[in-house]
Chain length 337, copies 2
């Protein structure tokens, strides 16, 4: 096991449900300095686990473990922290309680403060749902978070994004083997169908036009082989109920729902004190740059910087060296400021 | 019955399969003049039937029945022409043969020439898969087609479009009630899932951002009500095997596969003699303007004219008056030239 566990006890969630005997799984990189002033939080994305974030951490990079103490908390629901797949009955599977971004970040805050005694964060950053958690950190703990860089994500899940996720959800639940979540074996047809539904959204039209799946790091000879080998394989490795739990979190994403903001996204954006670089990808089909332009226009200390190119949402996934270099350079600039 | 039937007899298809005792359903608008020089062909789209095309036909419009003889042939597979749903055993349901755009247009050509004795067409036009048939007409019968205006479609189905359709297809076939196409009752979960998968593709991100589903002609109070009332309702009215047959046609779309072109799309584009206005929609998520820009660059007598606005693919569906006016104006200009 290459990660640590932080026992959360019984967690009362926003919905009034209680997540009992909960656990936060996390991994740290680097060493916390004496005055606890070099910490970074870097949350995970939809179905990603801590090791999936490691492409952005390394010697000579912005997130350099020689310089910073980088904490990667696994999202509740992602299969390592408390999730439908690892919680004992009766709160397992489809009875796992609903968790909001606010709930996620409150528990991550406990890890950061109770286990490590950290009072300020140099940076919070993350991709996709990790960007949602990044915004949530900045709104919930404005005195604690000095800088944020949400990439390929949003502070409020747009209606189009909600619709896209409905397609993902129904690909799973249309499979009779899902059995309302009470399956003994994974609904593999549904998981494969999710792969095919997701394939058109995760990468841009131009990515497919240029057949970049034939090149590094994918190296597939045909489109069909890419759909099976990458996309079906990607989702077959996941638990269906975990995917549905995280999907609920994602669909509900809205920093305006943070207590004290009366559902007002703009008011919540305006409350952010952290210096921010907000980084959508040019051809991201479910987090389009326009949405983040709107967010930045309401943030007091934020810059919009669009990742150029054809990788769409996956520009932030670490598979394309040019995008990684672009993200890393912005992180360096932000951390040096 | 508001349409006519043209018996095709036994049709030998491109794949070598034979569609036996086939029928082409069609409707005409206006009167064929004495020298048979005022005919227009306006094919249907994915699951659309002739009456779904009528929004673009009318007095004072470009497609004016007082001036032109407008033939709307229903695509094979669309439920009115020979289709999985109306063909007797053994070639019904999932055993209905595969039909290409080339096959479609060859049979439409028989209708136009054998039934009406027409030798030239003033125009071929169509939306989406109707645009695919439009290109196919221009390539297969270059001496016959004087003008074309394909809108929100393509001459070759792009790989991203193929991937999008994989999501649609798997939403149907993941439903156990589909039974490999041998169902007695429609796989309604699958059809509803298709509605949810399609909802994110048919309209743009900005359409949802602006909540245009709350306005005319939709008039839904909530997003969820739009998903059920419009999108699920749309696909629940269709036959699953018909959808899969037309989807195969769409995925295989490529004018380069026309006999004589050796699979070369560019060579086929270059062979088009018709004067063309090619009209993608600005935010169409599966027929993006870039793809049509490529097509136009290889056509000898074509102009690219992008439909502006946020309606995405549905800019060509007749629901938004501004888009309809834009399309109609271009048709007038083209017909007057």
């Amino acid at each position: 096991m290459d990660y640590e566990l932080f026992p959360l006890g019984d967690v009362r969630l926003s919905t009034g449900q209680t997540l009992r005997d909960a656990t936060l799984a996390y991994k740290t990189y680097g060493t916390l300095n004496e005055d606890r002033s070099n910490a970074i939080v870097y949350p995970t994305w939809y179905s990603g686990q801590h090791y999936d974030n490691e492409w952005l951490i390394g010697e000579g990079m912005a997130l350099d473990p020689a310089k910073y103490f980088i904490i990667v908390p696994n999202m509740l629901g992602n299969g390592l922290s408390s999730s439908p797949s690892n919680t004992p009955p009766p709160h397992n599977g489809p009875r796992f309680p609903d968790v909001t971004f606010y709930d996620q970040v409150r528990q991550q805050h406990r890890l950061v403060t109770e286990r490590f005694g950290i009072e300020t964060l140099e940076l919070v950053t993350g991709w996709s749902m990790g960007a949602g958690q990044t915004y949530q950190w900045a709104v919930t703990f404005p005195d604690m978070v000095k800088r944020i860089m949400p990439f390929c994500g949003s502070s409020k899940t747009s209606e189009h994004n909600i619709v896209f996720l409905e397609g993902v959800k129904h690909a799973i639940i249309t499979d009779a083997a899902w059995q309302d979540g009470m399956y003994e074996k994974q609904p593999v047809k549904g998981l494969r169908a999710v792969g095919r539904v997701y394939a058109g959204w995760g990468l841009s039209q131009a990515f497919y036009w240029q057949q970049l799946y034939k090149r590094d790091p994918f190296d597939f000879a045909t489109l069909e082989d890419f759909l099976v080998g990458f996309w079906e394989g990607f989702f077959l490795a996941k638990d269906a109920n975990n995917l549905l739990t995280m999907l609920w979190t994602w669909q509900q994403g809205d920093i305006g729902k943070t207590p004290g903001f009366d559902g007002d996204q703009v008011k919540a954006l305006a409350s952010i004190r952290a210096k921010a670089i907000v980084m959508p990808a040019e051809k991201d089909l479910y987090f389009p740059p326009e949405d983040e332009e709107f967010a930045v226009s309401h943030m007091p200390n934020a810059e919009l910087r669009v990742i150029p190119g054809v990788w769409g949402h996956f520009a932030g996934g670490g598979a394309n060296p040019a995008d990684t270099a672009f993200i890393d350079a912005a992180l360096k600039e932000l951390l040096d400021s």
